[in-house]
Structure formats: C-alpha cells, structure tokens
Amino acid sequence: MAEVEPKQKKASGRQCCICNQRRAVLKRPKTLEQICRECFYAVFEDEIHRVIVDNQLFKPGERIAIGASGGKDSTVLAYVLSELNRRHKYGLDLFLLSVDEGITGYRDDSLETVKRNEIQYGLPLKVVSYKDLYGWTMDEIVKMIGLKNNCTFCGVFRRQALDRGAALLKVDKLVTGHNADDIAETVLLNILRGDIARLSRCTSITTGEDGPIPRCKPFKYTYEKEIVMYAYFKRLDYFSTECIYSPNAYRGFAREFIKDLERIRPRAILDIIKSGEDFRISTSTKMPEQGTCERCGYISSQKWCKACVLLEGLNRGLPKLGIGRSRGLNGHKKDIEQINQMNNIQSKPCGSLDF
C-alpha cells in the first residue's frame, strides 16, 4: 500500500500539447512546446523531411554519402535519413563514409561505432584513412608537430579525405550532421573574426556546388538538444568521447556562449542563423578562382592544394610549412593566408566533420 508509483505521480501534471493524450517528456527549444515521445519523433522527423523537400536537397536515383564520425549528429542523421528515404520514397542510395585519421583510442573506437551502424541501418560503409591517402596518421603528425597546430592538418586533410572517399563511392552528394547549434556557432565565429565573406556562406544549406562534390546539411535547423534526446529515446548507438587532440579554445568559448544564450532564450540559435543568412554582402567579395593542384589534382586556387603544402612540410621535416606566419613552399604569401583562413573556418574540433 505504501508502494507509490513515483513515475506516474510526477508525470500526471503535464500532458502533450500536440496529442493531448500522453505525458509530455520534452520541452522543445524551438517552440517551447511540451510534447510526448511519439509526437516528438513525428515532429522531429517531419521537420527534417520538410527541410529536405523545401530545399530540394536530393533527386530520385541519387547516390548520397553520409559523413559518419560515429558521433551523435551523424549517427542520428544516418538513422533518420534511411528512415525518411524508405518512408517518403526518396529513391536514394545511401552510404556511410568515414575518415580514419589514425588517432589511437579515439578514432579506432568511434569507427567501431560506425561499423555497428553499418549493420544496424544496413548502409554500406567506406572508410578512407589519412595513412592511405597521405602516408601519415594523425598520431604520427602530432608526434612530429606537437599539439599546437594539429587542427590545421585535421581540417585540411579531413575535408579532402571526405571528397576523395565520396569520389571512390561515386556519390552525387555528401551530407553532414552539422546542426543548428554548430551553424550558429560558426556564424558567431565568422563575425568575431570579421570574415564577412564566409559569414553568409556558412549558413547555406548546400555548399560546394562548384567543387567536386556538393555538401549539404539536412540538420541546419535541428537543435542539438533534440538530436541528443532523439538518440537517447531511440537508444541509438553513438560514440561520445572528445578527441584527444582538440585544443580549439576560441571555438570552445563561442560554443559556451551559444549554450548560455540558449538557456535564457532558446530561439537565439535560430535567430543567429537568420542573421547570418540575411548578411548578404553587396560588395562582390571575390572568391579565389578554382583550378587544380599540380601535384594531386584536387581543386585548388593555388599551384598546390593546402593538403599538398602541409604534406610537403611534413615529409621534408618542416612541419610549420603552411601554418601561421612561416613562409609557404610556393613562396606565395597568399597561400599562407589561405591556409590560415582554412584553419579559421575549421569547424568543430577533430573527430567531427567540418564545413
């Protein structure tokens, strides 16, 4: 008789404001609605479907690679996208694409997660490794250059590795798990750095249409809180250890600031994205003309692409080449500036995918 049911008791007060039947389990940051688990699944998936349809992200018959790191965002993306593909008959061939940077105790563990996802979701997986592509693992690079600039390598190499993996899979597009919080953070960083050209571009849902492989972000308007709640309720299997080489303190502060704002006013995240979108620069900031790298054939506005400049430094034992203020191999100061910019726009620390 003393056996009370605390769970029921506490829950009885709050009902889902969508179905008015079940108990609410979540307060949506976007709308402040209180909703139940079933309605949450429905609105979460429908909103992503709407974003895909409204922005015409895919065409029937396309082959799509999902950049998969084993982390929460890409795991939920793989799950939801294969679900929507079935439900709404997008007619897509989906693949998982992972980059193995060669980080012991981090990437090898997260790759195990991706391999489980391959089986759980029935999506073929392709792994491309730094070792195979560049002859160096991240561990070896860090041993050589120390912890200071390793994110430059990570960012430049990963971007190219994903493009090369996508080419091997012969896919039409690459989708990444960047969420609304990530994009708000990048908008803020671009403002803090005075990088107006990147400011409006970083909010585009599809980028790189002129490059080898367009990239798009179906989670552009999806809150991180909801992604994590979705993964939790669905018991999705993801990997959540911070990369051991992620010293990007500046970005860390921006992240913290966004999270503080979100607590006070959750809509702040969508508003920051909106601000970024509305920053259309009237001056025609000229983007560098695209050619190809003389050495590896990757797109590059310079003689050599960034990865090749960095690699040359590593291979010649001059790892500072292409980083910071040191002189570039091509002797072009522009090169260096570009690499610095590359470093600047690098999104989340190692282990997650960047723009």
Binding site: A11, K27, Q34, N179, Y232, C243, S352, L353
Partner: protein, 99 residues
C-alpha cells in the same frame, strides 16, 4: 533516499568511466525533501572526480548538459526545484562532445 544516476555523452569520464551509479542520498539536516539542487551539489561532492566545470556551472548543470528525471526532460518539472522521490532515475547527458 535511493536513486539511480546515469551519466552519458562523455560525462561518465568525469566519474571514473562508470555510467550508472546506484546511490543513497540522505536528506540534509532540517529538510524534509530532496530537490535537484541538493542532488547536484551532492553529485559534485561525491561522484565527480575531475573537471567539475564540465558538469556544473554555478549551482546548476553546465548549459549543454541535458537532464532527464524518469525519462522526462527536467525543464518540464521545474529544473533545480524538482523534488525527488525514492527510486527516481536521473540521467545526465552532455551534448557537447563530438558530432
């Protein structure tokens, strides 16, 4: 009071990589109920072994840490003022790791 605490999304690393903790938390002297505010300060003292700033900010969890009480978002039950009862299950998940 017997409670089950679960740490995820990387927070388990702050408590010796143990995800699930069955704990017994006593009411503070002179109080007749246990709130989330009390529990957080108890967790900080008794479970968090390193980098407490990854878990807490001020008297609450750090923004970006989600809290569920019996699988229900604590934003629906009054956050710090939520009163806990015997056998409640409290889950803490960091959203701040990886992507």
């Amino acid at each position: 009071m017997q409670l089950t605490l679960e740490f995820g999304g990387g927070l388990e690393l702050l408590c010796q990589s143990v995800k699930i903790h069955k704990v017994n938390v006593d009411l503070q002297a002179g109080k007749e109920k246990l709130t989330m505010r009390d529990l957080l300060s108890w967790v900080r003292t008794n479970l968090i072994k390193e980098r407490p700033e990854m878990f807490m900010k001020g008297e609450s969890v750090r923004p970006g840490v989600l809290v569920l009480i019996n699988d229900c978002d604590w934003e629906l039950s009054g956050q710090l003022d939520t009163t806990l009862v015997e056998k409640d299950v409290i889950v803490f998940i960091s959203t701040l790791h990886g992507g």
